[in-house]
């Protein structure tokens, strides 16, 4: 069986269907995480729900002692880490702690479905349990620490820009993608439960040689992976793999799956391709920070490892690298919002808890039992004495004024999209003033913790220069470097605003846009230069934007207020502000007014 795997790895260009190799990788990941358990963190399984994923999970379950338990991402804090056991506490008259899911899953695998939707407020709990192998509870008048060595199988069903929270991804050693695998490629597991057990028992006996360690370190550095945690994952996965494959040396059959399952999904840049003629004094294609060891012996080791790095990189299909890279880029872009998408902001019983207050029993309120008990406790003796009913005395008297309810808040972030007309007509007229106005607005965004995005349009297209960011320095710099000139592709600009605004809204934030233009549209959607077609296209897209009810302001940058800009703003259903009268402050005020509506 070991030969089977190494064959597959050494012939990436074999005529068999593409999915077969991917499936073997996925299967290997299942075997590895079965061996590693908690020390390996978990697996990120990128796949839409379907038979392939079901089969993969089944294969995993067949190799571990207890089937993985499914824990939905929306599981609240008190269930995750544990909290007061209300019925027991009432029965015994003292606080009793109920174990949380994590403690119940000690030494088990957990399946986290829809990991890309994991709410931000719970991510920390998952990460803490994965890091420490224990849960600490300090809630509801109780404190306890219990073991919780969990292994997380995160099912990532994200499409487009949705990804699980970065903090979670960092702690999942392996990453596989099942989407490209055809159901025909799916196969029985390569390693049996016995193999896994056998490997697990011998994990402590494997020592990793220095060459492999150096190689892994260099590989990580060459792909721009700086986290030590990831490197540790690679080291232990390497050990587990040598045991599974029953080899004594770490050759390509071991290193290549590690690259594919651990390093590549995290790569932040493509390693430099190997240079054909290789003079010995050539510097290796590593980031500048890497230092060369001095001793000759280490140099030799270095060289050897270096060649392996090169050969390993050469093996990788370039398009795979490119797609992975794009994914990595996207996930970085979205780090701040990951997993927080699509929730309704005004929800009364979700979000971050912000304390407890006196309340009443009514729909939509969640009672805080410990707080309620505490409020009722001092009056127990008095109430028992005054209890004149002839029934048996109650063991606990709780009256309406004792009720305490939990308060939650859900922060709704907002994103302000600036779309700047950098066409010739606008640029010459009032570009500098427009930039000044934006800078003032940026300062305002900072104080409101609003994110900003920047779109510029000129010539034939509109470009998203800056995806939503909190970094105003970046916004300012991008703005300053904004080039001008060319036609006005208004329709393309509006379409870009529309696309970005819908994406922003899908992440749970509120989009607002500020369009700075003189309203002269002279480039149509298809790129032809025509004032009539340009205007017509622009008005059509404007209607689409208006239908979404996103709030917006059109700042007319023409010398005199132009009827075209006014027409566009009414089509957009946006507030119209001519720049001659619009000081930066007044733009500011009108946008503030929009946000407060």
């Amino acid at each position: 069986m070991p030969t089977l795997v190494s064959n597959a790895q050494s012939q990436p260009h074999s005529p068999e269907p593409n999915g077969a190799g991917l499936w073997r990788d996925a299967d290997l990941a299942a075997a590895l995480i079965a061996v590693l358990g908690h020390t390996g963190g978990g697996v990120r399984v990128i796949a839409q729900p379907g038979p392939v994923r079901d089969f993969w999970l089944e294969n995993l379950n067949s190799r571990i002692d207890q089937s993985a338990r499914r824990v939905p991402g929306a599981t609240p804090t008190e269930r995750l880490i544990g909290g007061m056991d209300i019925t027991e506490s009432m029965r015994l008259g003292k606080p009793v702690l109920a174990q949380g899911v994590f403690a119940e899953c000690h030494n088990r695998h957990i399946v986290l479905p829809m990991a890309e939707r994991l709410p931000k407020e719970f991510t920390g709990h998952w990460c803490a349990a994965m890091d420490t192998g224990a849960v600490k509870v300090a809630r509801d008048g109780l404190s306890q620490t219990s073991d919780a060595m969990i292994t997380v199988i995160a099912l990532d069903e994200g499409i487009d820009e949705e990804t699980p929270p970065a903090a979670l991804l960092e702690r999942l050693s392996l990453s596989i993608n099942l989407d490209e695998i055809s159901i025909r490629c799916v196969d029985e597991p390569l390693f049996s439960k016995g193999d896994i057990k056998h490997a697990q028992e011998r994990m402590d006996t494997v020592a990793l040689d220095d060459t492999t360690l150096l190689l892994l370190t260099q590989l990580a550095a060459s792909m721009g992976i700086h986290s030590i945690r990831v490197l540790r994952f690679a080291v232990i996965a390497c050990k587990a793999l040598t045991l599974l494959l029953e080899t004594s040396e770490t050759d390509d059959a071991v290193i290549h799956p590690i690259i594919r399952l651990i390093f590549l999904p995290r790569a932040t840049h493509i390693p430099a391709p190997p240079e054909e003629p290789e003079p010995p004094e050539d510097t290796p294609p590593l980031p500048e920070e890497s230092q060369q060891p001095d001793s000759a012996q280490q140099q030799g080791e270095h060289q050897e490892a270096d060649e392996t790095v090169q050969s390993a990189i050469a093996e990788l299909p370039t398009d795979l690298l490119a797609t992975l890279l794009k994914r990595a880029e996207r996930s970085r872009m979205r780090q701040n919002k990951a997993g927080n998408s699509g929730q309704i902001a005004q929800d009364k019983h979700r979000g971050r808890p912000i304390g407890v207050r006196r309340g009443e029993l009514k729909r939509g309120h969640r009672i805080d039992i410990p707080a309620t008990l505490r409020a009722a406790a001092p009056f127990q003796a008095v109430r028992a004495r005054w209890d004149t009913s002839h029934h048996q005395q109650a063991s606990l008297y709780i009256e309406p004024q004792d009720i305490r309810v939990k308060r939650f808040e859900q922060r709704k972030s907002s994103v302000m999209i600036f779309a700047v007309d950098a066409s010739g007509s606008s640029a010459h007229q009032r570009m500098a003033e427009a930039k000044g106005a934006i800078e003032l607005l940026l300062a305002d965004c900072y104080s409101h913790r609003t994110e900003v995005a920047l779109i510029s349009f000129k010539g034939e297209s509109a470009d998203l220069l800056l995806p939503p960011t909190r970094s105003l320095v970046r916004a300012k710099r991008t703005l300053a470097q904004l080039p001008g000139g060319g036609g006005t592709p208004m329709a393309a600009a509006l379409q870009t605003i529309y696309d970005l605004a819908t994406t922003v809204e899908a992440t749970g934030a509120t989009p607002t846009y500020v369009l700075l233009t003189d309203g002269a549209s002279n480039v149509a959607r298809d790129g032809t230069k025509s004032r009539a077609a340009g205007t017509e296209d622009a008005l059509r897209v404007a209607k689409k934007v208006a239908a979404t009810h996103y709030r917006g302001v059109l700042v007319d940058t023409a010398v005199r207020p132009s009827p075209r800009a006014r027409e566009l703003s009414s089509a957009l259903d946006a507030t119209y502000l001519p720049l001659p009268n619009a000081s930066a402050q007044s733009i500011n005020a009108s946008i503030r007014a929009l946000n407060e509506e």
């Binding site: 020390t39 804090t77 995750l80 003292k94 606080p95 407020e121 920390g124 709990h125 990460c127 803490a128 890091d131 420490t132 600490k136 300090a138 809630r139 509801d140 008048g141 404190s143 970065a166 903090a167 960092e170 402590d204 220095d210 360690l213 150096l214 370190t217 260099q218 990580a220 700086h226 986290s227 030590i228 945690r229 990831v230 490197l231 540790r232 080291v235 920070e289 890497s290 230092q291 060891p293 780090q335 701040n336 971050r352 912000i354 304390g355 407890v356 410990p370 707080a371 008990l373 505490r374 409020a375 406790a377 001092p378 127990q380 003796a381 606990l396 800078e439 940026l442 320095v473 300012k476």
Partner: protein
């Protein structure tokens, strides 16, 4: 879980180790904030500190570990009434404030069991009581719920925890060194809390290959045999522990020349830091560093070494200023402390 990774076996991260040692020498410096990317060993280093701290004398059976040597007015209510106080040696407490902790456990609250069964109004001390005279560690401090942060801020400033709830009225000493860690990508820290930390630093993973290989090797050896590994480092740990212990007693005697005071003041003036807290922390940190190095006079060199930790999070933030806070502090150090 049982054995923590030894502090002295941590490769690199010298800034973090130095800052934590300084905070251990003089708790009045006001804690350490460690911000950094994922996988830099923030939590490992901070947890390792717990094993390194010297023992202190405390009143026996006191839930607040009162110091029997202090004047009676800074003791807890119970200890003030008791004479004579029975003393014993305890390890300096390092208390974890777990994510999702509720206010009643952090501040302390009415003991439900006693209240319901005996109708007795008893106070159940919280984590702040347990952390008195020690360290309070908050991992992912930027994810902490706001109402907990507010409560913490107040206590950290006054050193006294006042609980007025459920008919209780309790005051107890709660002087602790706040140690926080977090990843800036996951959320910002409120400026008020930021200012509360005496020292702040930004950690990065070491990027050079030999250091990284060394880290992995040591970690691997530790995972393989935690007890054996810790034993290998026990001599080093003991040496550092004694160094900190000696410095703790010597710190008050360290002399600060007027020239150093003036330099510190001019540095803060140059940077326009708000309030006196920065200046005070600067002096205290330089003094603690001198004590740690076994010297009895704080020098300009000490001041230079701590200035970045002390001031980098105290600058007035201008969202439009492109230069980083670190660069500004370094520039000011170059001009004011030459």
């Amino acid at each position: 879980m049982t054995v923590a990774y030894p502090f002295t076996a941590i490769v690199g991260q010298d800034d973090m180790k130095l800052a934590l040692s300084i905070a251990a020498v003089d708790p009045s410096i006001g804690g350490v904030l460690v911000f950094g990317e994922r996988g830099t060993g923030k939590s490992t280093t901070i947890r390792a500190l717990a094993q390194l701290l010297p023992k202190i004398a405390a009143v026996k059976d006191c839930p607040y570990q009162c110091d029997p040597q202090t004047p009676s007015k800074s003791l807890c209510a119970q200890c003030q009434k008791t004479t004579p106080l029975k003393s014993h040696k305890i390890a300096i407490p390092v208390v974890d404030l777990p994510l999702g902790a509720t206010e009643d456990r952090v501040l302390g609250a009415l003991d439900i069991e006693k209240a319901i069964h005996n109708g007795e109004k008893a106070f159940q001390p919280g984590l702040l009581a347990a952390a008195n005279r020690g360290f309070l560690y908050i991992d992912e401090v930027n994810l902490l719920e706001d109402h907990i942060v507010d409560a913490l801020l107040d206590v950290a400033a006054s050193g006294i925890n006042v609980v007025e709830r459920e008919g209780l009225s309790v005051r107890h000493p709660a002087r602790f060194v706040l140690v926080g860690s977090g990843n800036p990508e996951e959320g910002e820290l409120r400026p008020q809390l930021l200012d509360r930390f005496g020292l702040s630093l930004d950690v990065r993973t070491p990027r050079d290959i030999p250091t990284r290989v060394e880290i992995i090797k040591l970690r691997d050896a530790f995972d393989h045999d935690p007890e054996g590994f810790s034993k290998r480092f026990s001599r080093k740990e003991g040496a550092l522990r004694r160094k900190i212990d000696t410095a703790r007693t010597a710190v008050d005697a360290v002399d600060i020349p007027t020239e150093i005071l003036e330099k510190a003041a001019s540095l803060c003036l140059e940077l326009g830091t708000d309030g006196l807290r920065g200046e005070l922390t600067l002096i205290r940190s330089a003094r603690a560093l001198a004590a740690l190095k076994g010297q009895d006079v704080a020098t300009l060199q000490h001041l230079k070494q701590v200035a970045l930790f002390v001031l980098r999070h105290r600058l007035r933030r201008d969202p439009m200023d492109e230069s980083s806070a670190d660069a500004r502090v370094e520039r000011a150090i170059a001009t004011s402390l030459s």
